[in-house]
């Protein structure tokens, strides 16, 4: 049990993007790549309050997530998590999550280097995130089941 938890934590530490699948109110499947913050068995995903994922989990809260290490290539182990999602709104209760999220993604050295490589885009990037921060929600997914599966590699 402890070994499994250590393996899961080590795997999660090597992932920065999670692919999340949910069922839209119309019944069609949705899958989106998202940034995440992990804390005590829950995953926090920042979203626009009217995003398709927010609309989906409001009706069908069961989601599936794939954690695929960014540096792995070829056939590789991927962590598949089933969980239950809930939309959390309001700025102050989620301030800690938003701060962790910003440090992890916007102020990471690789992110800053990327902004410097595209200086002509910085104004539009700021505009994009400012527009979305006014209407943001956080989706919390509580982990219910975790399983390692093997993903086929890209074409050789």
């Amino acid at each position: 049990m402890i070994a499994a938890k250590v393996k899961i934590d080590r795997h999660l530490a090597s992932c920065r993007v999670v692919r999340v699948a949910a069922r839209l109110p119309s019944g069609t499947p949705l899958v989106v790549p998202l940034w995440f913050v992990h804390r005590r068995g829950s995953f926090f995903l920042t979203q626009r309050s009217e995003s398709p994922l927010v609309r989906a989990v409001a009706v069908h809260p069961d989601v599936v997530m794939l954690f695929d290490p960014e540096r792995s290539t070829g056939e590789r182990e991927v962590l598949r998590v089933r969980g239950r999602a809930e939309v959390r709104r309001g700025r102050w209760p989620l301030a800690g999550i938003v701060v962790r999220h910003s440090v992890r993604y916007h102020f990471h050295p690789r992110a800053l280097a990327g902004y410097l490589r595209h200086p002509e885009r910085i104004v539009d990037i700021l505009r994009y995130y400012t527009e979305r921060s006014r209407m943001s929600a956080v989706v919390e997914v509580r982990m219910e089941q975790a399983q390692f599966i093997v993903a086929p590699g890209p074409s050789s």
């Binding site: 019944g27 899958v31 599936v64 695929d68 992110a111 902004y115 539009d124 990037i125 890209p154 074409s155």
Partner: protein, 134 residues
Amino acid sequence: MALRYSRFGMVDSVPRATRRVSIDELADLLADPPRASVAFLAHDEVHLIPVRVCRKGDGFLLGFRAEALTPRTGTVATLLVDAGVFTPELRGVRLRGVVDGLADGGPDEELTWCLLVADQVVAWDYSKLRRSGR
């Protein structure tokens, strides 16, 4: 284009930032996707399976490992191909369509191949963020 009220009660048109691109602008990503996954419903549950992808005519061949659940013919599925971790490098394509049965002729015989015929495409590239309308 979003609309909002100005201080004087007039409706302004405010160009919003957009990350949308056409799927043709991501031809290199689709030619050699680093990772791909497909979502579909089966047994009244949503499933998400990592797959290998290659283009075949107007459709996409999805390669599943032998032990993986595969979607039935006629199932609506959503394929995600994406790359990148931080803002300017994030790009991807989401294709929704119908699974058109098991397909022969996939490039790897160890995988089970299905054909997805997409009818809805969303593509994005954060390195091309711009105000909409530009």
